[in-house]
Symmetry: D2
Subunit: 293 residues, 4 copies
């Protein structure tokens, strides 16, 4: 039996793909209603993380931030005390490497196996089983869950010991945050200089300076509609994890820290729950900003 905790935008789609390749699945989420489609499709409901842990051989977690993982693992009816030795916990949440190493240690102390396997990709890749996994931990444990990861993703990048999957995921999200924000500034500049939005967007997307994933944001920019694939507030959260990790490892990331604050300002101005490409909308806001003569 596979356990799955965390049925948000991403988790619900990942769990669905596990179900579809024929696994028995027991799921838990903070609010039960999000589990409804999965339950209809045959998944079992666990009233708590503990209940999921008691029945699962492999337990996936896909939660919003380190504190949510901590709560599910150690909180009231948390799962960690209820996973028997040799069972495997796979954390797909985006957290920071020192948190991951801490979780790995907590698992190890109890004889529990642990993989960090955060994913790259948003709602649609999650739905299509086209996520990318960055994995840290023991290769034997990875071997065991490979078929499951393959059901949810199209690529698995093994990075080394526990924490390194998480590390690479942060690196990837740094790139994601920047590329999106840079594109937003570029389009805003083009418009201000009198170019057509569509011309700018197309010229950039067809050239060598735009990251390929930006093609997926083309329509959002052109329509100024930011249906959420990856919420802006989550991007801000990941940038905070990155900033914290950078500080702890004695490096400076000036652009990343500014990006963090600009996503933050966008968030404060009402875009937290929209797709993170809404940074464009925040930056291209133009209320009356001239002085009368």
């Amino acid at each position: 039996m596979i356990g799955f905790i965390g049925l948000g935008l991403m988790g619900s789609r990942m769990a669905r793909n596990l179900l579809e390749i024929g696994h028995e699945l027991i799921v838990h989420n903070r609010t039960k209603e999000k589990a409804a489609p999965l339950l209809e499709a045959g998944a079992k409901w666990a009233n708590s993380p503990k209940e999921a842990a008691e029945q699962a051989d492999v337990l996936f977690t896909m939660l919003a931030h380190p504190k949510a993982v901590e709560a599910a693992a150690f909180g009231e009816n948390g799962f960690l005390h209820h996973l028997s030795p040799e069972k495997l916990w796979v954390d797909c949440s985006t957290v920071d490497p020192s948190f991951t190493r801490q979780m790995a240690e907590e698992a190890r102390k109890r004889g529990i196996r642990f993989l960090d396997a955060p994913v790259s990709g948003s709602v649609i890749p999650a739905e299509k089983g086209e996520l990318v996994f960055f994995v840290g931990g023991d290769p034997k444990d990875l071997k065991k869950v490979e078929p499951m990861l393959n059901a949810m993703g199209k690529a698995i990048h093994y990075q080394g010991e526990n924490g390194k999957g998480t590390a690479m995921k942060l690196v990837v999200n740094l790139m994601l945050a920047h590329s999106m924000a840079a594109f937003a500034e570029a389009v805003t500049l083009g418009e201000a200089l009198g170019l057509e939005t569509e011309t700018v967007v197309n010229t950039l997307l067809n050239g060598p300076t735009a990251a390929p994933f930006l093609n997926g944001k083309r329509e959002k920019i052109l329509q100024r509609q930011f249906a959420t694939e990856f919420p802006l507030a989550y991007m801000q959260k990941d940038l905070q994890l990155i900033a914290q990790a950078a500080y702890e490892h004695h490096i400076s990331l000036p652009l990343t820290n500014v990006a963090k604050e600009i996503y933050g300002l966008a968030s404060q101005n009402g875009w937290a729950q929209e797709d993170f490409s809404a940074i464009y909308s925040f930056l291209s806001t133009k209320k009356n900003n001239r002085l009368s003569p």
Copy 2:
């Protein structure tokens, strides 16, 4: 006869490609020695911009910044007063749109035709005739020089009236500056978190978050050797043009302005003349930065 003023890293290679498709060419540069290979290959030498203008039907300029263009056009023995009406000036320099429009107006007053045709691409594409042109001006004028541009480049993006070629070029360079700096921060983060530089670089370059041109910077990063294709100080200069244009058009580009200053700090710390990918070297500098206990 084609005139060509400005034989730097880029200009010398562009002129060479014009020569190779059989054009008669007269060239001028502030320091004559840079013209030597072209003169050997059959180009004529002009002692001043004026002399080039007197003999050329189409005059290309490829200069480092607006002030250099201004000096060549209006300075002592400048070319603008010596181009006869109906001749065509094609400015390939990266300048700002308001400067371009001012040059277009100066040309127009004298009956001279004018195109802004800045290029994207660095030394190697320049050498191979694989630059990309962004063109503003009258389509009939573009028609006339299309074969020449095709000798130097692989693509021509017509953008509209004068100034819009320059505008798009600034947009592209904004993307270039950011993508490089973001990649530098990403690799620095990955290293700090314990990942192998090569793993980080390869994982990013094979994924959807890295701009394709970054493949061309792979070896520089891995070898920490920054042989100049596009000097860091020129990138800083372009960012200054962008910041100025943004201010004049009432928009804010917070990330771009920070990128400008970080390239500036790299410059102050000795990287001005290296390739702009040396931003990585600046950001990943690690002198002793810990307090003793």
Copy 3:
């Protein structure tokens, strides 16, 4: 006769103080209505900068930015061609040092004397004659206008040759912009951490970390009313002058450039015409910025 061009928030009050110490005054402004109170009080009206120049022995300019100075000096009916040799032009506008040196050179070529004498202080000090002047140029020229400057200000800091008055003024405004923005961030932080706005403001203002001028912003912050003393858009403009000057002189000012962009974002969000302390209002904006669970 003293000429005075530029009767904005500051200029009108400065001119009034000149009138009050008994000088004959001829004034010009782009829109005549702003001159009304001065004309009633006895000033003469000049229909153009030229007219003011023809009658004045000393001509003050107090304009919004370099382009406005350029227009008044060289535009249609500009004053520079109509100042006779040995007359004295005193530019109190905040511009950049290279512009100042260019103006000084234009004056010199015509035998006209020139001082750069930008001011520190806003509406109320202007009204009370308590401005601070930073002066560049020939000390003999300063001698001549000292009584006039003393009518408008409480202190005169002579800095050296032309351009150095302007330079010091930019340095001072850099401090002004930062101190205000830092105070805005500090108060915002304090509030977010649960402290009373008034406690935070008072503790800071009574301690050694707050610039003394911030006392004058206390009520604006506490009332969240930003009656304009120095418009936010002017601060943004000065920061742009500073950024340009910094680039030209090969230094990096990362914080100043970010401050510029944050004032810019505040401007875009509707605060351009308010006092620059309204940066607090922009930064402390809090629309719904949380993700639902």
Copy 4:
């Protein structure tokens, strides 16, 4: 008996002032050698935090960061399990408010009284007993230690319940970090524009835009000697605490985050252990940063 844990630059001087007003004092530090002058002056040595706790009625901690406090409190031979109920722990360390509230809760669970009482001021005020305390907690507890705080400081600002002392301290340090960095940029700008360093420094310090504490940095700037009063790396650490607290409370501090990274770059370039005013030295670095023509 008073206990004192943490005898760094600040703590050693604070403890000395307690000793001098006649208190019996038991001290502990990670490295014993720093305690030598105090032991000579009559203080007792505790081999561990535990030993200090067992003998003290009031226990002060003055440590470098939250992790150091955590280690002293909960680590091997930590003090918290060895303070009897009703004893009072006063934490003078600069930490973040959520950490403080967590410590307060840990103390409360054990019946131990707790005050957060971080200080403003550096080595010299610490020596002279002229620190400023920001205090959070029960006023009755403050009453009890008031004479001790008065021995070490010249002012006590009571802020409210536990966590609010810490909160105000972060607000003050935000101002400190900015004012210093702004001053560094201002002086660098003035120098680049041709002004004398001393003129710029004096003009600013005598005007309303410079925070009063900057007078204490005057000589360091002019001599370019940065004898440590408050180490740059500590400022960077405090900015990291601030950034974290800001994120947790849903506000954006763009300037503060950039300041954090610029101190970080200064740190990476070798200035970590110098006084934080060495940010000036980093920003005004000028290696060859021009392109040859």
